[in-house]
Amino acid sequence: MKDVASKDKVITKELNLFYGVKQILKNVNITIPEKKVTAIIGPSGCGKSTFLRCINRMNELNPASRVEGEILIDGKNIYADGVDPVEVRQKIGMVFQKPNPFPKSIYENIVFGLKIKGLRDKKNNSAILERSLKDSGLWDEVKDRLNDSALSLSGGQQQRLCIARALAIEPEVILMDEPSSALDPASTLKIEELMDELKKQYTIILVTHNMQQAARASDYTGFLYLGELIEFDVTDRIFTKPREQLTENYITGRFG
């Protein structure tokens, strides 16, 4: 039902991740298509968030972590020698479980990343601000109060602000780690609607506990269990006729 023709954007090859001696991810091989929403599902502790954090090299902020294998973005290994993790993170935006705006104005939240990138032209930054807020579906709600504190926004608005903040630095991939688990159903639907819009321009990788959300909002789904990728396929297929019994057991609520 969904369009399956798409270029590969992110490829992991024999990806292993260790925290000290504990192995969290085991030989994960996955090919994530461009400009689609790919959901990663699995029970708590299966390595979903860890997997996501490998894609923008955030795991290495923890000195106990060690990554083996490759992650190719547009064919280039982001773990190769000489690759600057800060540059990687600029190409790969991330949105977290709880909205985490800076305790600054709405305006400052968006242009913060731009300033770090050295972009200080106010006119240009305002244009990026407007575009980012429009793309995140927040512009009409905040355009008259850009100098208000971001903390004055509702939870759902704060989360969309965080998405706008990620969009401002023009990422190619957006990682979303349980982006609506702290939100009410109406705000959750807005985030899902937003993903549907954003995938026209960005590759989205969504980690979620909420299987219904993965089913509704994604084009592809991967099922992780105990650090292993058990199955990866078109979402329609995963939720109607999964190939693996473990996937079937998980999505039908027999465990997890």
């Binding site: 639907l189 899902e192 609607e193 549907d196 089913a215 509704r216 939720f239 109607t240």
Partner: protein, 222 residues
């Protein structure tokens, strides 16, 4: 496009496909009776082959409904809509089988001439295919009132069938040599009568979609 918007889009696509499937079935039924009238065996063979396309359409649409139920978690009207589509495509697919059945009768008849000119069978064809068309229009408009009135029209088809049945019976009693030819026509008439019955099943699904109530509207006497 919103996620719910995407569901609504898929729903509209399914509706269009349903109308398309209805047109395929109406065309098959009309062609099968024309083949009978005109003794065109080659056309009858094509109708039998084309029935596979109707069957395929049904499976494709069923798969789409299943995917939407599994991934979009429809409830209330949205759920009843998909359940209605699932049922209606089954009814349409069986109607396609009746058309193929009539075409097979044409093939079986070979060069045997019709025992009488066709009068009521074409009338049944026009009536039953019109009922199919209007039932699908009622589905598109979610019009339970029209659905009920279409069900009432099944009596007209039953009356035509009665008429054909008694007429053919008279032929057979008067001249046992017509038994084979009369039985063929009886089967054709029965196929058309069953098509109208299945239209009433479609109408029951429309009423369920609109009201949420499952009702047996009218029970065919055959």
């Amino acid at each position: 496009m919103t996620t719910r918007g995407s569901f609504q889009k898929h729903k509209r696509e399914l509706e269009q496909e349903l109308v398309g499937m209805g047109e395929m079935v109406i065309h098959a039924v009309t062609r099968s009776v024309d083949a009978l009238k005109n003794h065109t065996i080659e056309e009858a063979k094509k109708i039998v082959a084309d029935d596979l396309l109707i069957n395929k359409k049904r499976w494709d649409m069923e798969e789409k409904c299943i995917c939407l139920i599994a991934t979009q978690q429809p409830v209330a009207t949205d759920l009843r809509h998909l359940i209605a589509v699932l049922n209606i495509i089954t009814e349409l697919e069986r109607m396609g089988d009746y058309a193929a059945g009539t075409a097979n009768i044409v093939i079986m008849m070979g060069d045997q001439p019709l025992i009488k000119p066709l009068i009521d069978i074409p009338r049944m064809t026009v009536k039953s295919t019109d009922m199919i068309k209007r039932s699908l229009e009622a589905f598109m408009k979610q019009d339970a009132v029209s659905a009920r009135s279409i069900c009432d029209e099944d009596d007209e088809v039953d009356m035509l069938y009665d008429q054909i049945y008694h007429e053919l019976l008279t032929f057979m009693i008067e001249d046992p040599g017509t038994i084979t030819g009369a039985t063929y026509l009886m089967w054709v008439a029965h196929n058309l009568e069953r098509i109208a019955d299945r239209v009433t099943n479609i109408c029951e699904r429309i009423i369920y979609l609109v009201t949420g109530e499952m009702e047996e509207i009218n029970v065919s006497k055959y």
